[in-house]
């Protein structure tokens, strides 16, 4: 059985700054694994650990996501190998484009079970996994809070807004897991050293017989919002100031 965890590489939002014209400056932001995908990686690491099975990791994106620290980080978390599909046409790809290319790569790998994270740090659409599953004709669910194998069936717990449910999926299956499924690990030195010896396979679009379909979303501009105008009245912890602060609060309560 072949198992794959998909992840997205995004600029580290801690280092994205806002320029005076309110556009975003990514120049200091290194490519990192999108936060919630680390939870998917951990969930799969725990699943594989119990059953003694192996799996690989897969990402697609523009060539600038190819970062040695990022690759080591991924391989420290349990996968046996890392596959990356790199092409300039994947810069800023929408979920349709991403899912199409992921599907082609997943077919080449021959994945029976694909685990995706909740949503990406940049767009947080939580759609690529769902679209990937449908393209592959696989059993597809989101909001998964645990999963296990029972023979040739995958049994998942799903946590929705008002209810939980237990589902049984045929394989192949694509599951998008909730971010609280498993806290991401702090990798040990042993895991980090072992990561350096694991294979990284870099594919072009032609390697996986894929092309990037036309974009389905047109993004016209990306700007940091002007903060809502506020009064910014500041008080200290003196008794008089606390009393004034309380008075302001009581005034808006009426």
């Amino acid at each position: 059985m072949k198992i794959v965890v998909c992840f997205k590489v995004v600029p580290d939002d801690q280092d994205i700054s806002i320029k005076p014209d309110r556009t975003l400056d990514y120049s200091k932001a290194r490519p990192i694994v999108s936060t919630y995908d680390l939870n998917a990686m951990e969930a799969l690491a725990q699943f594989a650990c119990e059953d003694g099975i192996t799996y690989s990791a897969l990402t697609v994106g523009a060539p600038d996501i190819d970062d040695s620290k990022m690759k080591k980080n991924v391989l420290s978390r349990g996968p046996e190998a890392l596959y990356m599909v790199l092409d300039e046409a994947l810069a800023g790809a929408d979920t349709h484009q991403t899912a199409q290319v992921l599907a082609a790569a997943a077919k080449k790998i021959g994945a029976d079970l694909i685990v995706c994270g909740d949503g990406s740090a940049d767009v947080y659409a939580a759609q690529a996994g769902v679209q990937l599953g449908e393209i592959l004709g696989a059993a597809t669910v989101n909001a998964v809070s645990s999963f296990s194998l029972e023979g040739d069936r995958l049994v998942v717990e799903r946590t929705l807004e008002d209810e939980t449910e237990t589902l049984q999926l045929t394989l192949p299956a694509v599951v998008s897991v909730a971010s609280d499924i498993a806290p991401s690990r702090i990798c040990s030195m042993k895991e980090i050293l072992a990561a350096g010896k694991k294979p990284v396979e870099i594919w072009s679009l032609s390697d996986i017989a894929a092309s990037v379909p036309a974009a389905t979303l047109a993004v016209t501009d990306v700007l940091a919002p002007e903060p809502a105008p506020r009064r910014h009245e500041m008080y200290t912890d003196s008794d008089a100031d606390i009393a004034s602060f309380a008075k302001k609060l009581s005034e808006v309560l009426v």
């Binding site: 975003l24 947080y124 759609q127 989101n142 036309a214 903060p227 309380a246 309560l253």
Partner: protein
């Protein structure tokens, strides 16, 4: 323009239909009898979902409907079930959905959050259908209207690869922060779970509900998940918001920035929360909160 609306809950159905009315013709898809809401749309396509079938499996019912009706936009409530269903529809249609929408223009282009609210992007769907996931609050001022012709639609079964074994309701705290006029938010500044008692007392004095930042629910489990305010949680618009021990990362502030008046209590004078506050107090919350309780009682 013709807008097709799909939502699970009555409140969202009314709100999305009201917003859709601002763009033109409104057609509602009801996958269950509970989703048949009258007086909000021109047509209600009422699907007779067979017993035991998950609404996520109504893909082969909706595809012909979309092909026949040719809507210009598809407004979808961003629940987990509908994000699965509409995401699968998007894959079949060759489209992408837009999520975390802040506003919708007359041409169905939208402003949506990027990097958890760090920025906003203007997006227009150029694919076969504009699939827009629209949450509570975007159209809260709009008023729905319609003559509601109910059109029965036969369920078309597809190949089912997912079988439901069981379903159980989640026992909730009963708090609906989205409806609260006053909200107290707590963050990492709170040292211990027992200190919630002090916060609850303060909240009851000002007649507010209590919400929190992500770590308080996800790492500490001090408050239920449905009280988490911010990206991928609640986006609130209360009259009064009081941030206690909250540093003010964008991931949280995006959920409170549309509050009418914001108060902030934090001992760090450089905490970003003060940039979002009308009234800020640089002080130890354990000193200030009891005094506020005393003063406001």
């Amino acid at each position: 323009m013709k807008v097709l609306v799909l939502a699970e809950r009555a409140k969202a159905i009314r709100e999305l239909c009201a917003g859709a009315r601002g763009l033109g013709d409104v057609e509602l898809v009801a996958l269950t009898s509970a989703q048949v809401v009258t007086g909000v749309a021109d047509k209600v396509f009422s699907v007779s979902l067979p017993e035991g079938v998950m609404m996520e499996d109504s893909l082969d019912t909706l595809l012909p409907l979309i092909a026949a009706e040719k809507p210009d936009a598809f407004f979808v409530e961003p629940t987990k079930r509908l994000k699965l269903l509409a995401g699968r529809l998007a894959a079949r249609l060759g489209a992408s959905g837009v999520t975390d929408i802040l506003s919708v223009a007359d041409d169905a282009s939208v402003s949506a959050m990027y990097f958890g609210g760090l920025a906003r992007k203007n997006v227009k769907a150029s694919g076969p259908l504009a699939i827009l996931y629209i949450g509570a609050g975007v159209f809260s001022d709009a008023i729905p209207s319609g003559t509601d012709t109910v059109v029965p639609v036969d369920f078309v079964a597809g190949e089912s690869k997912v079988t439901r074994r069981s379903v159980a309701p989640i026992v909730k705290s009963g708090v609906d922060l989205t409806a609260a006029k006053r909200v107290v938010g707590i963050g990492r500044g709170l040292a211990a779970e027992a200190d919630l008692e002090m916060i609850n007392e303060f909240a009851s004095v000002i007649d507010a509900e209590v919400g929190c930042t992500r770590p308080i629910t996800e790492a500490e489990h001090w408050l239920p998940k449905e009280t988490y305010i911010g990206v991928s949680g609640l986006i609130l618009t209360p009259d009064v918001y009081v941030a206690i021990g909250i540093s003010g990362q964008t991931q949280h502030t995006v959920g409170i920035d549309r509050s009418k008046t914001i108060f902030a209590i934090n001992k760090d004078k450089n905490a970003p929360i003060f940039a979002y506050a009308d009234y800020g107090i640089v002080a130890d919350l354990y000193k200030v909160v009891p005094k506020l309780v005393e003063g406001l009682k």
